[in-house]
Symmetry: C2
Subunit: 553 residues, 2 copies
């Protein structure tokens, strides 16, 4: 029980917000919930294709249609009229179910549905519908399909690539009113929930039963399970529990023509035909709307330990990772990478005492989660002794209590916020084969340095080029901290970074998806054959193209 509460202390709401991708991604869904009524303290908007690290004064959000003048509204779609609105009022009962931008002054009400929490994308929707059941979603979608009304499914609206907000006048279909936990089998650990359930609420429900949701991410206080599955969210628990493609057991989906596809099995094994649900996992709402999710939940670990150590090269980081997998295997729950420059910046900004003496080119944070605190600590001690005696690791420390764990995690979690200290940050969230992972940072740094763009003085736009991320998932965050956004920097970065990734068969989107932002770049990660097949799948499930148009592929 002591250990369980440590885990709780280790990830209080505020702490955990930043862990996945730093504050930019993570704090805002909650700020956004406030902002949607009071509109205070928005985040700093940022240059195309990147997110900025630190809050800044409020700013007008430009319409996406203005930011992308070459994109045009699809004229096949109908314009919303009063007859349509009346249909939805009749179907859904009006009131909270329908926000009618036609008949009432809805500017205050529609704003949170029209724009994303990064304040980067803004649509022109005049109608948000909030059906209260799968059946209502079915009828609503059928009507949209029959009447050529485009639809954007929206969960917690915490995405990072503009996938959950309209571009033009698409109707927003919010899943927030279908939010019941349908069933939980405490023996098998199988959970069935409505798509609109909030991740954190579900995880709390499971915690009371000794189970854990196999996904955790910073936006958990706002994001919905349906959206998590639709975007194939990765998050903090992937190293230990694997991806949603393995954990989701079944889905209930409403197809664009209103057909309800009931594949909501709770079986762990079911080899009867093509595994269609997989297409909707990461389908970003372009094939249908997920209304129910069945998922396998593991036991919650009773013990958590954290270690932090310094290494002299990326080769040694790889070596340490290999040793950690070998010696800690079944209890290893996080292996996070931070380069020396990122830690220098955190130190410069926070002025906190460093966990280890001296300067080192790399640092790693290891977390273990198991069923016996003493066993796990013993394994961690043995591991640290081994890697230090073998000179794989130069120095290391092991947290003795929850507050020390929290303090060690802050050196990883604090990076994104600190990077924003000087101004804007160019951020790339990519996946690269492990052996090449850090080379992208070195090559990018060399490229910007040789162009004279990096330096300690104000005439240099770039403060530092740093790398950190989820080593265990081959997921790198390449970040370029700047004093100001600068065209010269951007030209050096793109398409260089995408081409570099494509050459190593990496992914331009490790976990954030395509949405609107990365749609043009899919060719860097997928072949023409794959893209053609994807388009055929889209055509098959959504022949009229009403689902989340202008995005994805």
């Amino acid at each position: 029980m002591i250990s369980r509460s440590c885990a709780g202390l280790l990830r209080p709401h505020k702490m955990s917000l930043g862990r996945a991708c730093g504050p930019a991604r993570c704090t805002v869904p909650n700020q956004w919930a406030r902002r949607s009524s009071a509109s205070t303290e928005p985040l700093q908007p940022d240059s195309e294709g990147r997110t900025a690290g630190a809050p800044s004064p409020q700013k007008h959000i430009p319409f996406t249609s203005e930011k992308y003048p070459n994109m045009k509204r699809d004229t096949r779609f109908s314009q919303l009229n009063s007859r349509h609105v009346q249909y939805f009022k009749d179907l859904l009962g009006g009131g909270s179910a329908v926000i009618d931008g036609v008949s009432v002054d809805a500017s205050a009400d529609l704003e949170p549905f029209n724009s994303d929490w990064m304040r980067k994308y803004k649509g022109h929707t005049k109608l948000v519908i909030k059906p209260a059941s799968t059946e209502e979603i079915s009828q609503a979608l059928k009507y949209c399909n029959d009447n050529m009304l485009a639809v954007v499914p929206q969960g917690g609206n915490t995405g990072l690539v503009g996938g959950s907000v309209p571009v033009y006048d698409e109707i927003v279909l919010s899943t927030s009113r279908i939010n019941t936990i349908r069933s939980f089998d405490p023996v098998a650990g199988t959970l069935v929930v409505d798509a609109g359930c909030i991740l954190e609420s579900v995880d709390q429900f499971l915690a009371d039963k000794g189970y854990i949701f196999p996904l955790d991410l910073g936006a958990k206080g706002s994001c919905q399970i349906g959206g998590n599955v639709a975007t194939n969210a990765g998050g903090l628990r992937l190293l230990r529990y694997g991806s949603l493609h393995g954990n989701v057991l079944g889905l209930e989906v409403v197809l664009p023509d209103g057909t309800i596809m009931d594949d909501l099995t709770t079986l762990r094994k079911n080899n009867t035909g093509y595994d269609l649900k997989q297409l909707f996992i990461g389908g970003e709402g372009t094939l249908g709307i997920i209304t129910g999710v069945s998922i396998l939940c593991p036991q919650r670990s009773q013990a958590v330990n954290v270690a932090f150590f310094a290494l002299e090269s990326f080769e040694k980081v790889q070596h340490a990772y290999r040793e950690a997998k070998q010696q800690l295997s079944e209890i290893l729950s996080a292996f996070e990478l931070m380069d020396g420059r990122s830690q220098d910046l955190v130190h410069n900004v926070t002025n906190k005492k460093r966990p280890l003496e001296g300067d080192h080119p790399f640092y790693c944070l290891i977390e273990t989660s198991g069923s016996n605190a003493e066993h796990d600590k013993e394994k961690l001690h043995q591991f640290l002794e081994h890697v230090m005696s073998e000179e794989i690791v130069s120095d290391g420390t092991l947290a003795d209590n929850a507050s020390q764990m929290q303090s060690l995690w802050s050196w990883r979690e604090g990076i994104t916020e600190c990077l924003g200290h000087w101004g804007g940050v160019y951020k790339y969230d990519v996946s690269i084969p492990l052996s090449d992972l850090y080379e992208l940072v070195e090559d990018t740094r060399a490229r910007l340095s040789s162009a004279g763009l990096v330096g300690d003085t104000n005439e240099h736009p770039v403060v530092a080029v740093v790398g950190y991320g989820h080593m265990g998932d081959s997921n790198l965050h390449l970040n370029v901290a700047t004093r100001r956004f600068d065209k010269a920097v951007e030209e050096k970065l793109e398409p260089f970074v995408y081409e570099w990734i494509a050459k190593r068969n990496g992914s331009i989107s490790a976990e954030h998806g395509l949405g609107l932002q990365k749609k043009p770049y899919i060719g860097y990660s997928r072949s023409e054959t794959m893209i053609r097949l994807m388009k055929q799948i889209k055509e098959l499930f959504d022949p009229r193209g009403i689902m989340n148009p202008y995005k994805y592929i």
Copy 2:
């Protein structure tokens, strides 16, 4: 190191053969390899839709086309002619690449490709092609597609549902000549192999590097990775490592028109479009031929422990399973269920000393695999003390050494073979929500008993109705041991069993797939909507229908 070798002793080839589904499934691929040249000791053939448990004298295999007289050869397909054969000889170089049933007496050579190891299905192919590269497979398939020649992809031909042998004169495309390990990243644990690699060879390759293939099954000495993926094989390691849908990172697939779909990424995270590879996992070769597989491999456990215990009710079994997950969580690698009757039969046949005193209605076997033998044993001891003091478990024992482990496992592994002692066995491999799992056995037993079909004397066809299986995967083996196959028994069993499963939203095929055998029954596990969508997917990828016809859906 001691523990590692224990694991080896625990699963020598002969022992592990039976574990997945007993000897019927498991020993034969190796016998078959012998039989293909010498034709000795075939298995007992069995009644439709079931496999028999024990070997019997050799018997002629009837043609599938004769067993299913209502099924007709699709007349859209071309008849093989000498021009076709010449094309393949030119393409593949003749010799081992082509077995030409037209120009040579090929009865001896074609037999192993025309029939399955259970000697249940037999086709009429006149041509087997064995391309040596993905490029050759691409050209061969394109030619077949252009010339309307039907194709059956064949790996190790160890399937259980007739999926890998032709029905009529389909060309067999064997993947056995593409069998290279393409790459292994010892840091990330990502392995890329040709589809034709044998599972056991790959696992041995990984063992030498401290890794493990996340799938293990009885036929490992013959089955190929491509076939494993195409059938979404479940096997022995699913409880611990999850399904292939979560572990496969990428695939290379040749589509029916010869297009090579290169999705052979080694990335753990890649959110760039629909996850198309998932359709081929469990697609049973009906959409294309898998030629390459990229998969994430976990560390090999250094310590293995086994416990065996008795329980007084299925409620207590569920309770024990829940406790095991809680207390052993990260080290739990098997939780196998055996009912008392199954253990009685094993005892009657083998006359071995039972592991525990007295008769109990249920027994369970627990295996743990971890990185520290002492820690794991301590956890197991604590677990056993707890469940015994709480009277969840009536009695239990913990293996002290490898030979004791092997002995305990034999009470689970020996079941299938012993069931065949009296004659034939009706076998169902199904998946049911855990709380209802054993009820199917009770209901089936009551049904057969009330019809007067079960008894100790020869006038009763049924010896016993038993249940056992992978508790951790909700995967039950319902077995009806008989003195003889009997129409009255069959009529009581079907469609009763399928209907019973359908009512509980279970699966009629937990891990064996559909193939030819279960094609008619998919409606018991899938809705019309799902089946319609599956047919559309098939039409999209294989518009001319040349891939593995007459099967699946």
